[in-house]
């Protein structure tokens, strides 16, 4: 029997798992809830039980497993296999994740842990919109703005903090970011950045009669999804918000492309559910600012795997390292 790989995506809501063959075929895929009570001390135990159950179900022994790849939030120590400061797991101190798995199973499996945004980039490269290109960047627009950069078929980790796309300086006199700096891309192009920009513009512009602007004046909650939908339907105020935020995103993508000139920059995350309309807007602003030789060779696309990118990318970590 050929060996199997476990791909794991640790998230604040669920732990997603996959079993992948050494040929790269996805054999099985499921998830278990994340129990982040008691400072997240149940998470690895629950994960171990999920792996154990799958092994028993298939009569697999330790020798049938080639290795484990994992994407995690927080700061990953790749050599030690630990995770620190993963706040949505309630992990503040350093967690010996790889050691805890190996000792539960009494196995000497290779275990590769990587930042979750980086792992998602690998997943999109392998099974999604990255289409096996050797140079791919994934930018995720969610609560924050994250990223993963692949160059020459290798993940770029730099000194540990590569792909911090969300904290690229983006806006002159921009607002304060969670990182302490001002004007980071995340303050403009994340879901909350888009909503904040709408608030600013609502009061900076005349009353356009826009329903979205009116809701802001009334103190009602507006989401980035509402704004994109209204813009696509022709709401002038919402269009202005989309133009302002996507111009900053388009320029940032141009700056990324000037550095690594990837074949694809993929846009993922919840905000990217706005789809083709968002893609057209960001591509327009990208083309306005990017060096022509770079713009002609770097293409912006929507990511296609959604929440599955992580488990696929996690499994690919094992294949890349063995």
């Amino acid at each position: 029997m050929t060996k199997k790989i476990f791909g794991i995506d640790l998230g604040g809501t669920s732990i997603k798992l996959s079993v992948v063959s050494t040929e790269g075929d996805i054999i099985d895929q499921w998830s278990v809830p994340t129990d982040n009570k008691d400072e997240g001390q149940h998470i690895i135990h629950d994960l171990n039980q999920a792996i154990d159950a799958k092994m028993k179900e298939n009569n697999w022994t330790n020798d049938d497993i080639l290795g484990i790849g994992m994407g995690s939030p927080g700061v990953v120590n790749r050599e030690k296999g630990t995770v620190t400061g993963a706040y949505n797991l309630n992990w503040v101190d350093e967690q010996p994740v790889a050691d805890d798995i190996r000792s539960y199973f009494n196995a000497d499996w290779p275990i590769f842990i990587e930042n979750d945004a980086n792992v998602a980039a690998l997943g999109e490269q392998w099974k999604g919109a990255g289409d096996h290109a050797s140079d791919v960047v994934l930018v995720t627009l969610g609560t924050g703005v994250g990223g993963g950069v692949i160059v020459n078929n290798q993940l770029v980790v730099g000194q540990g903090a590569a792909g911090e796309i969300g904290h690229m300086f983006s806006k002159e006199d921009g607002r304060k970011c969670t990182c302490g700096k001002h004007g980071c891309l995340e303050t403009v192009a994340s879901a909350s950045g888009i909503v904040w920009t709408a608030g600013e513009l609502a009061y900076a512009m005349d009353d356009t009669g826009s329903a979205i602007q009116g809701r802001i004046f009334n103190g009602e909650k507006v989401t980035s999804e509402d704004i994109f939908k209204a813009a696509e339907a022709g709401d002038i105020f919402a269009e202005a918000v989309v133009d302002e935020t996507m111009s900053h995103l388009g320029r940032a993508l141009g700056q990324i492309a000037a550095v690594t000139n990837p074949k694809y920059i993929l846009i993922g995350g919840g905000v990217a559910n706005a789809g083709q309309y968002l893609l057209d807007k960001v591509t327009q602003h990208f083309n306005e600012s990017v060096y022509p030789g770079v713009g002609a060779t770097t293409h912006i696309k929507l990511a296609t795997l959604g929440n599955d990118a992580g488990v696929y990318g996690a499994a690919s970590l094992v294949m890349a390292n063995i």
Copy 2:
């Protein structure tokens, strides 16, 4: 006898050559003038004669040569070993550089040709301020702004146009660049960009009594070197010019660092002769804009090899590929 490598840096004024051992020791180094008359058709012939003379001087046969590495201006086709549009060599059409060398010597040497800015980055990584780090970026501030990006010990070429640092969008409502876009870093932080910024600021500011500002008012020529020297000596106007230009450079370096988080970003080129004063200014602005986790791990330094970076980097191309 161990084999030898030729490292060659093709430039508009001179062709620089080096002989390097397979252990990476530089055995010999010299240069010949670049004769770019007659559409540059003498250049490769002169280069071949320079190599030939060195081989005869040492009684080397074709078998004693491991390969040739070369840095060239213009657009390089790495597979074909050709160069197109190297205007300071007067090469407009595609030149079969590698084939012309091999046929002159009737040799089957491997010949690696790479963009000159990329080759300089490899040289600084190997023998200069890059200190053998696996992740290094070189930014050259000269007539234009160029760059070379190294990740995981490999040159980043992307789809052929990676490292186009000079054309990163940098300045809102900035002036038109040679590439056709507006506000590129090159329009602000190259030697000519700094002089242009001085001209803009001279008329935007009140008369500060600055000698530099006075020379601009009188229509006299001012260089970026004049501006840095005056700023360091306390000229208020020149300080304002340095602050404006270095703030754009510092932010751009922060954006590069957010993408690849290199250990070192090295500043080279003629403008960098301003030395420690320039380094302090750009580092200050870098730290103001960069994500703290990136700023703590990416260090800005001055390049140390000057014009020698090219020949060393060119030789290293052979060692990396064999």
